[in-house]
């Protein structure tokens, strides 16, 4: 029953102001619910396959869960054991080294390739195609192919060097402490991440206003001055993006590259046993899932630290036009 004053004013009559307002609110709610309804599959997928596993990982890291499912709460014992372990300390150092160097090597190479592709020349599309082709090969397949090529007795590179030098070259590329890192960083130049960086750099380079270069030419600036004073500052947001994604790729994606190349023991002498390999080793070879989850939490925190550090550095070095 409507209150008398509302009935007198005809506020609730069809087409009246309150009804119009109510109708607007109902439509607004219906629209919102429809939108959430369409987003629901993604939400469910995100909760089931991302959020829940991450939260579960935190909880499992506080237990001594084995691969067969047996589990007991042990608090922070896994973390205490991790920090007391020389294997972890070595793996942590290798991870930091590998991530920083891979980030620099792949970014520099991608920028160089993007720069070369930016020149107006014939058959540019074909060059881009061939530069990008190795990136579409799955990392594992790529790693196994390179492992064969860098083999000691039957490898392609040793055969090439033997035919060039005329002597029997038998370099143990992947098992020698002096050559293993250069080989691995060479292989990272052909991964998907590097190809993607190249395309993003190319896009960034295209966006640098040409009149800046023209003005610099008029002032008599050389190539390196233009590169340092115009190109780099103008593409600095792209550099930031690529270094952040590059570091995350190095931290998380190194497993697919390193496992086929050097095994989960990180041969030779654990020089390539990054945290992702150690996690796999502990969880699936030693069946210590709880311990593996604790290592995963540490890897997650390391990725956060890298991200925060890079964004912190970006405040000083990244130039945003606006």
């Amino acid at each position: 029953m409507e209150p008398p004053f509302i009935k007198k004013a005809g506020l609730m009559r069809k087409g009246g102001p309150l009804m119009k307002e109510k109708g607007r609110k109902n439509r607004h709610l219906a629209n919102n619910l429809t939108a959430y309804g369409f987003m629901l599959p993604w939400f469910i997928g995100f909760i089931c396959f991302t959020a829940f596993p991450v939260i579960f990982m935190f909880f499992v890291s506080l237990t001594n869960r084995r691969l067969n499912g047996i589990s007991q709460f042990i608090g922070f014992t896994n973390y205490k054991n991790i920090f007391a372990s020389s294997t972890f300390r070595n793996s942590f150092k290798v991870t930091i080294f590998f991530t920083i160097v891979m980030m620099i090597v792949t970014a520099v190479w991608a920028l160089l390739m993007a720069f070369l592709l930016n020149y107006k020349q014939r058959l540019n599309g074909i060059f881009q195609f061939f530069y990008f082709i190795p990136s579409v090969i799955p990392s594992v397949a790529l790693a196994y192919a390179f492992r064969t090529m860098f083999g000691k007795d039957a490898g392609l590179f040793n055969a090439l060097l033997s035919s060039i030098s005329g002597s029997n070259v038998r370099i143990n590329w992947l098992y020698n402490e002096r050559t293993v890192y250069p080989v691995i960083f060479f292989i990272t130049l052909f991964t998907y991440n590097t190809g993607q960086m190249m395309l993003i750099f190319r896009s960034g380079l295209n966006d640098v206003p040409v009149d800046l270069y023209e003005a610099a030419d008029i002032d008599g600036a050389g190539f390196w001055t233009k590169f340092g004073r115009i190109t780099l500052p103008m593409i600095s947001p792209v550099i930031l993006f690529n270094t952040v994604t590059g570091s995350i790729s190095a931290l998380n994606g190194s497993f697919a590259l390193l496992y086929p190349l050097t095994g989960d023991t990180g041969d030779p002498n654990k020089m390539t046993q990054v945290l992702s390999l150690l996690i796999y080793n502990e969880a699936f070879s030693n069946y210590k899932v709880g311990y593996g989850c604790a290592l995963s939490v540490i890897l997650f925190l390391l990725a956060c630290v890298f991200g925060i550090a890079l964004f912190g550095i970006s405040k000083k070095y990244v130039y945003y036009e606006n």
């Binding site: 629901l40 067969n68 007795d153 002597s167 098992y175 023991t265 041969d267 002498n269 502990e282 070879s285």
Partner: protein, 424 residues
């Protein structure tokens, strides 16, 4: 607007239906007794069945029992971890799990597999006939949870043609370790530039490293404590291998995965007895076998897999019927002929079906029986992460990056951290 609402509604209904169907319980009935013929079961294993139908024991089991056997091959490198995950998630996709030595106790304790005693009571399988090592391995479980599918051992393979060319008498089962080292040196052939053309002895693999270490007197695995026990014996064997690598007698560890013995690039190799079946008559040279020549005691590691029944299987009776056939004389005979591995049942092993017919150049079949007699379940009872880490360290010592003592100490330290005991 109306279309959007309808679409949203359809999507929601589809999603909810999908969730309900996905989370619903499977309806399975336990097949039993006389209606087993026509049942389908799944068996997990880490190697492909023999391509020859006569030597495919699963196919023959199908014909004999009328039960269809689907073979699910899981790669060896992930086999144990996959099975552990299946047990943890109470997976019922496989009925028969062929379980490794280091997993059977674990699966029994977590009730991932069932005790077979109720079936064995009415079976003709004689458990007293198993080799002693098998009985010792499963002691203390309180029941019989698995039946060993074979008893594989490790032996020396040698290239007879190379021995003939070098004028060295063939090794026998009493060959001494020093004779072996001397022969390896003499059999090595070098190129003009000093690199090795043919190695006297191939690098030990993940199995046979332990034969050399155990042969030097180290215990390797202590079943009473579950610990890895290596020391001076391991140091000595690593130093012997390092010396051979330095002289070019043995290849240094590398990323190459080729079988140098089969390729004719190594005169001798220590490998599992199952390679006899793989080589057969396919090699381009005459070859034979002998027991592994070790320094102080005869030692090699026994390998087996246990036929077990998944506790979550809905077809346990059918699974048992297939296992019973596979453990019978015919099943064991086919397994032996196919793989070259003797049966773990002594009376069946004595019949000699493991003498692979296609391996026509082998005369010294006694190497298998002698190796079995000296075999123990050693490193296979340790977590694979611990043993792989140790092998990696031993190989690093061969390249000179660390000393043999450092490798052994680090391996022991890692084993202690992983298994959970103190070295002090």
């Amino acid at each position: 607007m109306k279309t959007k609402k309808v679409l949203c509604g359809i999507l929601l209904i589809t999603l909810i239906s999908g969730l309900i169907i996905g989370c619903g319980k499977k309806d399975g009935k336990q097949s039993s007794g006389d209606d087993l013929a026509g049942t389908e079961i799944t068996l997990t294993v880490w190697n492909e069945p023999n391509k020859n139908d006569e030597l495919n024991m699963y196919l023959q089991a199908e014909k004999a029992t009328g039960i269809k056997v689907n073979v699910n091959v899981i790669p060896e490198s992930e086999y144990s971890s996959k099975l552990n995950q299946m047990v943890a998630t109470k997976d019922d996709s496989a009925d028969i799990l062929i379980v490794w030595e280091n997993d059977i106790r674990n699966f029994a304790e977590t009730k991932g597999i069932i005790a077979l005693d109720k079936y064995l009571e009415n079976s003709s399988i004689n458990q007293d006939d198993f080799i002693d090592a098998v009985a010792a391995l499963t002691e203390g479980l309180g029941a019989t949870y698995g039946l060993p599918w074979c008893a594989a051992t490790e032996i020396l393979y040698y290239n007879q043609d190379m021995f003939d060319a070098a004028g060295i008498p063939y090794p026998d089962n009493n060959w001494s370790y020093s004779d072996f080292l001397a022969a390896a040196e003499k059999l090595t052939k070098y190129n003009d530039d000093g690199t090795t053309a043919v190695y006297g002895f191939d690098l030990p693999n993940t199995q046979t490293w332990w034969a050399g270490i155990g042969g030097y007197g180290d215990k390797i695995y202590d079943p009473s404590t579950g610990r890895m026990v290596i020391g001076d014996g391991a140091v000595s064997f690593i130093e012997d291998c390092a010396e051979m690598v330095k002289k070019g007698i043995m290849p240094e560890p590398s990323s190459d995965t080729s079988d140098k013995f089969a390729a004719g690039k190594a005169a001798m190799s220590w490998m599992g007895s199952w390679n006899i079946g793989a080589y057969g008559d396919k090699l381009d040279f005459n070859w034979d076998i002998a027991t592994i020549p070790t320094n102080k005691i005869k030692y090699n590691t026994l390998h087996t897999g246990f036929y077990t029944i998944n506790a979550n299987s809905k077809k346990q009776d059918a699974a048992w019927k297939v296992i019973e056939w596979l453990m019978g004389e015919k099943g064991q005979e086919i397994n032996s002929k196919s793989s070259g591995n003797p049966s773990a049942l002594k009376t069946i092993a004595d019949k000699g079906a493991w003498k692979v017919e296609s391996a026509t150049t082998i005369d010294n079949w006694d190497a298998i029986t002698d190796s079995l007699a000296a075999g123990v379940f050693g490193y296979t009872c340790l977590p694979s992460g611990v043993t792989n880490n140790a092998i990696s360290l031993f190989n690093t010592a061969l390249t000179g990056q660390i000393t043999a003592r450092e490798a052994v100490d680090e391996a022991m330290q890692y084993a202690a951290e992983t298994i959970g005991y103190s070295l002090k």
